[in-house]
């Protein structure tokens, strides 16, 4: 059952990442990878909510498998983040590359920590 939920969440997360990335990237019309940044921050916020729920003792195992491991795990990506950063460096857009790393890490941690505290307050 866990395996099925992880696979289903993983499939949905990957498709959602692709569709969100394309939409955001087309709207921004920029060399900066806004699409990947968006999915990584949104996914971190959702996983932070789930982690807060789990800390309060309420998160069911099925939710963790489907939404946490499957959907959030797959909606967010390190490989695309890494490749886009390296590509920015090789295209001599080093400021963009550095900004991508700093903004992604800080926004991701901020979103997850904020969501975790919010969930702990809501469910606790």
């Amino acid at each position: 059952m866990t395996v099925l939920l992880v696979a289903l969440g993983g499939a949905l997360g990957a498709v959602a990442r692709y569709l969100i990335d394309r939409r955001v990237q087309r709207a921004s019309d920029s060399a900066f990878p806004w699409g990947t940044l968006t999915v990584n921050v949104v996914g971190s916020a959702i996983l932070g909510l789930l982690a807060g729920w789990a800390l309060a003792g309420g998160e069911p195992e099925a939710v963790r498998s489907f939404l946490g491991i499957g959907l959030c795990g797959s909606l967010t990506t390190f490989s695309t983040f890494g490749y886009e950063t390296v590509r920015l460096v090789t295209e001599r857009a080093r400021l963009y590359a550095a900004a991508n790393v700093v903004v992604t890490v800080f926004a991701g941690f901020g979103a997850a920590a904020g969501a975790l505290v919010l969930a702990a307050a809501l469910f606790g």
């Binding site: 997360g13 990957a14 692709y18 996983l47 795990g73 390190f78 490749y83």
Partner: protein, 151 residues
């Protein structure tokens, strides 16, 4: 695309996108399952160093480097190769959200050194891994291409 009349493009693109979305979905499921199996094989207590997530992200970054060198450098790569392997399998295999929550967990459970080492180490190791996959593959392909063109 520009040489097609708009009506043709509009009619064709939904049909083209269906197989792309399917390739991404199947790849995402496979990549997520592999990530889950690794987390079962290398479990860690809450707040401890999340080795399995680090492994997924570093290996996934190495492989995206190889894949993108092939896609941008090899003659005529299959059009579903990037959606299936890049967006799907590797996108599903690597994860940013679990990395973030793992690090926060370490900090929150009184392991600030693990949190910082893990947070910075993952970024550094992943970026180096992309390069380690990209550069040698690109060099190999270039040598193969010039070999083919030579009389």
């Amino acid at each position: 695309m520009a040489d097609h009349p708009p009506a043709v493009t509009a009619r064709r693109s939904p049909a083209e996108r269906w197989d792309v979305l399917l390739a991404i979905a199947v790849g995402g499921a496979l990549g997520s399952l592999a990530r889950y199996q690794l987390s079962v094989a290398f479990p860690h207590a809450r707040g401890e160093f999340a080795l399995s997530t680090l492994l997924c992200n570093v290996v996934g970054c190495l492989l995206i480097g190889v894949l993108m060198a092939v896609i941008t450098g090899a003659p005529g790569p299959h059009r579903l190769l990037r959606p299936f392997l890049g967006v799907g399998v590797l996108g599903g295999f690597t994860t940013f959200s679990t990395y973030v929550v793992d690090a926060i967990d370490s900090a929150a459970t009184g392991h600030p050194r693990i949190a910082v080492l893990y947070a910075l180490g993952t970024v550094a190791a992943s970026l180096v891994s992309v390069l380690l996959g990209l550069a040698p593959t690109r060099a190999l392909l270039e040598r193969a291409n010039t070999g083919r063109q030579a009389p």
